[in-house]
Amino acid sequence: MQRLDLIISERELERVLPLIDAAQAPGYTVMRHVTGRGPHGMVSESMEFSGFGANAHVIVFCEQPVLEALRLGLKPILEYYGGVGFVSAAEPF
C-alpha cells in the first residue's frame, strides 16, 4: 500500500478533491491552515483572512494503481499552480 502526501494551496482543494474521488481512492484526509515554504515561495497564515488562503495537507492511503491514476490527474495541477507531492510505503494497521 502507498501513502501520498500532497501539500497544495487551500484554493486548489476544490479542484483536487474531486480528482481524488475520480481516481477511486478509498478515502482522503485534509488538514487546512497549514503554512510552509516551497519552490514557489513562502505561505504564511497571516494572509489567511484574504481569499488567498494558506496551504492544505492532503493524505491519501491507497494501492499502487490508484496512485497512478492520481498522478495522471494531479500532475498538471501541481505543475500549473504549484504544490508538491511525496509518496511513501504504508500498511493497513
Partner: protein, 333 residues
C-alpha cells in the same frame, strides 16, 4: 489646516493600532492574532459596512447622482488597470504587470472603512451609495486584468502547455461571486430591505453593525499592521520601481478621482470616499483571483505593493492629504 487633518488622522484609534501592529513586527515581538480571528473581523467589517450602506441607500434612494457615481467608479476600475499596465510594462513581464494593474484597479475595503471613520470623527456627512461603488469596483478590475494577459501575453502562454486552461466561466465566477463581493452586495441588499420593511429589525441590529464597528476596525487594523509590516522584507526584492509605483500611482489615481468628483458634483464626504476608492489597491479579492487565473505572476509582488506600501500610505498619509486637497476645491457639506 492640513497639519490638523494629518494629526486628527494619526491620533485616531484605528491608525494608532495599525502603528502598534507595525511596531510589534519591527521589534520582533511575538504578538500575533492567530487565524482565523482576522477572518472573523474581516467578515464582520464587510457585513457591517454592506448592511449600513444598504440602510443609507434606502434612505437616500437611487437618483441620478447615485447611478452616475457608481458608473464612474466602475469606469475607474477599468481605466486604472489599463494605464497602470502601460506604466508597469516598462519594467515587468506581461503576467506581473497585468496582475499588479488589476490590483490597483480594484479597491481596499478597509481603506474605505477607515476613510468613513475619519469622516465620522471629523463629522463630515457621506452617503450610503458609496458602498455600492465599493462593491462594484472589484469585478471589472479582475476581468480587465485577465484580458490584458490574454491579449498581451498570448504568445508567451500556449494554451496547450499543459496547465488546465482557464475557462471564461470560472473567471466570471471568480470576478462576480467571490466571497467579498457576495458578502458586501448581499449585506447591502439586506440592509436595504430591512431599512424599508423592518424598522424594529434595524434598531436591533444597530449595536452589532453600528456601535461595535469602530472598535472592531481598530482591532482589525492591529492585525493589518502586523501583516503589512511582515511584507516589508519582500519589498527589498520588489525594488525601487515598484515602491515608487505603489506611492505615486495612488496619488495620481486620487487626483483623477478628484477631477471626476468635481464633474459628478459630489459633496466633500463622498468625494473623499471616491478618491480613496480610486487610490486604494486590493489585497483580498484580486490577489485571490490573480493567483487562480494568472499563476505565472509572482504573488509576493502584487500583495506586497498593495498591502505593504499602498495600504499604509493611504491609511496614514493619503486620507488626510486627499481631504486637504478636497477642502481647497469643495466647500464643507
Amino acid at each position: 489646516m492640513e497639519t490638523s487633518l494629518v494629526l486628527q488622522n494619526l491620533l485616531s484609534p484605528p491608525v494608532l493600532f495599525f502603528a502598534l501592529g507595525v511596531i510589534s513586527v519591527l521589534v520582533r515581538s511575538d504578538l500575533e492574532i492567530p487565524a482565523p480571528l482576522p477572518k472573523l473581523f474581516s467578515l464582520y467589517l464587510l457585513l457591517a459596512i454592506g448592511f449600513r450602506g444598504g440602510v443609507e441607500l434606502q434612505h437616500s434612494g437611487l437618483g441620478f447622482q447615485v447611478l452616475s457615481t457608481v458608473l464612474a467608479a466602475m469606469l475607474m476600475s477599468v481605466l486604472v488597470p489599463l494605464y497602470s499596465f502601460l506604466v508597469l510594462r516598462r519594467q515587468l513581464d506581461v503576467f506581473n504587470a497585468a496582475a499588479i494593474a488589476a490590483t490597483y484597479g480594484s479597491i481596499s475595503a478597509v481603506t474605505f472603512i477607515t476613510a468613513e471613520s475619519f469622516l465620522d470623527v471629523t463629522r463630515t456627512s457621506h452617503d450610503g451609495f458609496m458602498v455600492a461603488a465599493l462593491a462594484l469596483m472589484e469585478s471589472p478590475a479582475i476581468i480587465v486584468g485577465l484580458l490584458l494577459v490574454k491579449l498581451a501575453g498570448a504568445q508567451q502562454r500556449p494554451e496547450a502547455q499543459g496547465g488546465p486552461s482557464i475557462r471564461w466561466r470560472s473567471l466570471l465566477h471568480e470576478a462576480f461571486l467571490n466571497s467579498s463581493v457576495l458578502l458586501l452586495i448581499g449585506s447591502l441588499l439586506i440592509g436595504l430591505m430591512v431599512a424599508a420593511f423592518s424598522p424594529q429589525g434595524l434598531e436591533k441590529m444597530e449595536p452589532f453593525t453600528g456601535k461595535l464597528f469602530y472598535g472592531a476596525l481598530s482591532f482589525f487594523l492591529l492585525d493589518m499592521g502586523i501583516v503589512a509590516a511582515q511584507r516589508l522584507s519582500d519589498l527589498r526584492r520588489a525594488g525601487a520601481f515598484l515602491i515608487g509605483f505603489a506611492v505615486l500611482m495612488p496619488l495620481f489615481n486620487a487626483a483623477v478621482g478628484l477631477g471626476l468628483s468635481l464633474l459628478l458634483g459630489l459633496p466633500q464626504g463622498d468625494a473623499l470616499l471616491f478618491m480613496v476608492l480610486c487610490a486604494s489597491a486590493s489585497y483580498i479579492a484580486v490577489p485571490a483571483a490573480m493567483r487562480m487565473t494568472v499563476p505565472e505572476a509572482n504573488p509576493s509582488l502584487y500583495i506586497s505593493t498593495a498591502l505593504g506600501v499602498t495600504f499604509p500610505f493611504n491609511i496614514i498619509v493619503g486620507i488626510p492629504l486627499y481631504m486637504a486637497m478636497l477642502q481647497l476645491v469643495i466647500p464643507a457639506g
